[in-house]
Symmetry: C2
Subunit: 609 residues, 2 copies
């Protein structure tokens, strides 16, 4: 259509532009009639500019009177100084005295008002995503996201990383999550899979000598979605040859420094702290501790202190192999929290659901008195030692659990997180990065007897632990499982504010070691060949030592935007049932399409719309 | 594993590094035994460095003697000046006097030798893609590709474009090519589709006011692959609000300038020429003319000159509506080509396959004589006029066809391209960009009577041609089809060296016009709602005028690399049967996976491996 294109955006005109003849294009954000004068707030992505139309401009006035909110218009006119200035917006000192006025498109009344504090339900907003995305806050998220792409890619381009696109139509190798499958029309009966990660391809690129690889790529998992998962998500995917773990860290920490500086103006401190998996489990009861938490101590193992007591609960716990007694201290008084009977009962119910008989505690009241159901079981010496080891003082309470080590630790970790969340004991102004290292290579499930990769099957065991593979051959059952589970891997996570934002490892680069790992997780020789034959073959022609990491892009952007939900940093997110409310996908397809693919529908979900 | 990480790459040590103690990691490219001294060419992505091992270094010598080509090693030693320098490589003045030597991985004999002039079949190289990618030429292609991503993204980031990821799991709206489908597990019986292009989403982003959008994205087409198509390919996808066609051109030409300058050191001239679709068809017989062709004239329509002749072939052709007589001139002598009887017979067979009765020609021999089967039908005046209008001289030949206009023009275009290819009449040193504009909106198929979108259904008709929609309502059949086909669109292609490297348009932004187009291509009201209801709805809430373009990324990179095949600029390409020979996808999947999706295989391609 014919219209005058803008000379400026709606966000840039200032007093210094006074008397210039300009053209603006945009949306009617608001129209006001003040004593005959019409004022229009004209909006685009860049800002808002006020348009003034006097009744004397009869033709224009008549057209302008008809426009409603969200009409698209083109206006031409002269920039003039405003009488009543608006200090809140950059263009607040000027307005446009209109000389030309054209409606470019009309707008029906929108199902919700386009404003930052939107009142519509999330479902309605997802259905009308194009209107929701007109809100400044969502546009800001997408613009921050766009900036982060740029910073990350340029950071790695400056460091000799080659950006390579790996295939989206790849081989199905289901493990971990379910693959999304794509039926092949040419090879009927066969399927591609969408990548859960480009893991094998980036390793192949290292075998090919590409040395340093980067890609910001889509990955797919057909999981039953939890609140904040998406079927397709984005990761920053890296791989490097001839490196050790610290080289990977050194090549990622400065990237975060650049992002935080450019987006938030914050100088991050590097190097980031590093703690082993065992250490964080023992101290925080979590492999992704939130180091912003205050008012709660680390976990303290008091098994040694209480081991000679005749208290049957502790005694039984410690009699078990791997049994411990541990606690965590909550400084309630200095955080102005009153730990009432009701609160303690609530926490007790909470740990009962986790499978404990009850929750021990020792409360040091502000008046100097001590309250504890354990008191009668603890002698004075033990009480003193406990108080001492926790450095407890009045106004603090120690919660104590006993049982199997991992369960006690993770439950105390859960209690820490729950109390921190309930009482806002998290310093939201901080960004706490942490490398968690030395993860176990395998996860042994005692009940099923199954052994799986803790991270993935391509993770390198630590060289000094390789002997355990041979030792395990002489063992069976639980003994074997526990020995294998004790193998540490060159594997690491990056944790930010209690979120796992990256996971990586030094990879296996030798065929014999890769086969050992495949054997342990129970892949037969045939399965190894069918699924990963190309990788095993590749390792045979001179694979270099290599390692890498993948960062959760959506989560990083959400944290930068100060948001909890990744769907607010994704232009077109799906619901928890993996549906798009805007375009109603997934949808029915024509029978001909299925015939072409040689497939048929055998089960139809009812009422899935 | 434990090894010394490199202090330098294999491409950077120079005489100025002499006496430094360094560590290098890399692949054994070649090993030579010269009078007891061992020399190893150590290779990585960055270059080759020579390693020297003397027999006196007994332990190292023994290990080094065992390594074969493609072994991965780590060597430490002192940089020393070479006796016999190699001027062909940057590191040719130095070598490493080895002090430490470690084998990091062994290598079997590779199925083909890793060298630029590889002798293996393409299938073998695709199967061992990780080895093929070790070749310098393929690595160079991927590095150029990586550079182009960076240049493009930064170009648009600098110009306020927002990079947005659109969904890969989207709605199936089959048209043009076939969609790849993805069965939904949660909504059994329904399907996602992989995008053929993010067209609707980028338009939705304009409706949402994002103003300027860029994405380099994967697109998918389940077509029967021709030689140089890939089931997944990459495009640079742009969209802008409040623009006219020229604004889109202005925002893309400088990008090519930057790419060409940075990658090839070439200063492109802008603005690129613009020619209308009608013009290029009439002059070059193609909507993507290769302007590098020399020695061949444009097409000349000689209908006016020959219209009064009694020659039955021309007479019949011109009696038809849209019949023409046209020709193209080939300057053979100045290009040292001898146009023999055999060559003319070959071209005659060629046009017969295109459906012509024969090929007319007038050959002006170098000795001044004229040869032509038409001579007896053309009087002297006509002969003179033809010679004149073609500016023909001795050593040139005019080929003449008659028949339906479009067929004559495109066939003459094909002849031009064929002769240019056969006799290398293409200046390969040039890069000829050309905007082709004013495409028809619709394509009318006379035989089936079907009317389809020439580009896609979201392309805006030119405002001044809108009246034809109403006029067409009073017509039917061929008359209606031809009237609709005469509607020009705000639609453009960018052609480079005869390749269509981009396609774009100003889009429809009004619901009523979009519905008119949907109606013409035969979408029922119900289909319109089911497939594009969300877009029609979006247009109702204030859609701005907008337009954009999509560039074929793979093709652009191939041209920059001087390659004909896009698969050489794709890390992991698929074969013409859309298979990956390396990982053997597509592949069989477990019955459980199909059960989970509620689908069954009804046809199985035999021997599809």
């Amino acid at each position: 259509m014919s219209f005058n294109t803008r000379t400026h955006t709606c966000g840039e005109l200032k007093l210094s532009n006074a008397n210039e003849v300009v053209t603006l294009n945009g949306w009617v954000a608001k129209k006001r009639d003040l004593g005959g004068l019409l004022f229009i707030d004209l909006r685009d992505r860049y800002g808002i500019t006020q348009i003034k139309i006097a009744p004397e401009q009869k033709d224009i006035y008549e057209v302008a009177s008809k426009v409603g909110n969200e009409f698209v218009i083109s206006v031409g006119g002269v920039v003039i100084e405003r009488e009543s200035k608006n200090k809140n917006i950059p263009t607040g000192e000027i307005e446009i005295d209109v000389q030309k006025f054209q409606i470019l498109n009309e707008a029906s009344v929108t199902p919700f008002v386009i404003e930052d504090e939107v009142k519509a339900s999330e479902d309605l907003r997802l259905q009308y995503r194009y209107l929701d995305l007109r809100r400044h806050s969502l546009q800001r998220n997408l613009m921050i996201r766009s900036d982060v792409y740029r910073i990350v890619r340029n950071f790695y381009a400056d460091r000799n990383f080659v950006e390579v696109e790996t295939p989206i139509l790849m081989k199905s190798t289901p493990e971990g999550a379910r693959d999304y499958l794509v039926p092949s029309r040419v090879h009927k009966g066969k399927f591609y899979a969408l990548p859960q990660s480009p893991q094998t391809y980036k390793q192949i690129l290292m075998v090919s000598g590409l040395d340093r690889y980067i890609q910001i790529c889509k990955c797919f998992r057909d999981e039953d979605l939890r609140a904040d998962r998406q079927p397709e998500f984005t990761q920053i995917d890296l791989e490097m040859s001839f490196v050790h773990q610290q080289d990977v860290f050194n090549m990622t920490e400065p990237m975060f420094k650049e992002i935080w500086k450019e987006i938030l103006g914050i100088e991050l401190q590097t190097p980031f702290p590093q703690m082993s998996y065992d250490f964080v489990l023992e101290n925080y009861g979590s492999d992704k501790p939130d180091l912003r938490i205050f008012g709660l101590s680390k976990i303290v193992n008091i098994s040694e202190i209480v081991k000679d007591l005749e208290f049957v609960v502790f005694k039984n716990a410690l009699a078990e192999k791997n049994g411990i007694v541990g606690g965590v201290k909550f400084s309630f008084a200095e955080n102005n929290i009153d730990v009432t009977r009701k609160i303690i009962d609530g926490l007790t119910d909470f740990v009962k659901k986790l499978g404990f008989g009850g929750l021990g505690y020792i409360k040091y009241n502000s008046d100097g008195s001590v309250q504890s159901p354990l008191q009668k079981f603890l002698n004075e010496e033990v009480q003193a030692k406990i108080k001492n080891v926790f450095e407890a003082k009045d106004g603090e309470i120690i919660f104590i659990l006993s049982g199997a080590k991992k369960k006690v630790l993770t439950s105390l970790g859960t209690i820490r997180n729950k109390i921190a969340a309930d009482y806002k004991l998290i310093d939201k102004s901080r960004y706490e990065f942490l490398w968690v290292t030395d993860f176990p290579l395998f996860h042994y499930d005692e009940e099923s007897g199954e052994i799986a990769a803790e991270h993935h099957m391509f993770t390198s065991p630590k060289a000094e632990e390789m002997y355990k593979f041979d030792e395990a051959k002489n063992l069976s059952g639980k003994e074997r499982g526990e020995l294998l589970q004790s193998i540490k891997a060159d594997c690491y996570d990056l944790v930010l504010n209690g979120n796992e934002i990256a996971s990586g490892s030094i990879r296996i680069h030798r065929q014999d070691i890769q086969k050992k790992v495949f054997d342990v997780v129970g892949l037969t020789e045939q399965e190894q060949q069918e699924k990963f034959g190309f990788l095993l073959n590749a390792f045979q022609y001179g694979a270099p030592p290599h390692g890498g990491v993948a960062f959760g892009f959506d989560r990083i952007v959400a944290i930068l935007c100060g948001l909890d939900a990744i769907r607010d940093v994704i232009a077109f997110p799906k619901t928890v049932s993996a549906a798009s409310l805007m375009d109603e996908s997934p949808s029915n397809v024509a029978q001909q399409q299925l015939d072409d693919l040689g497939i048929a529908i055998t089960i139809q979900t009812k009422n899935s719309d």
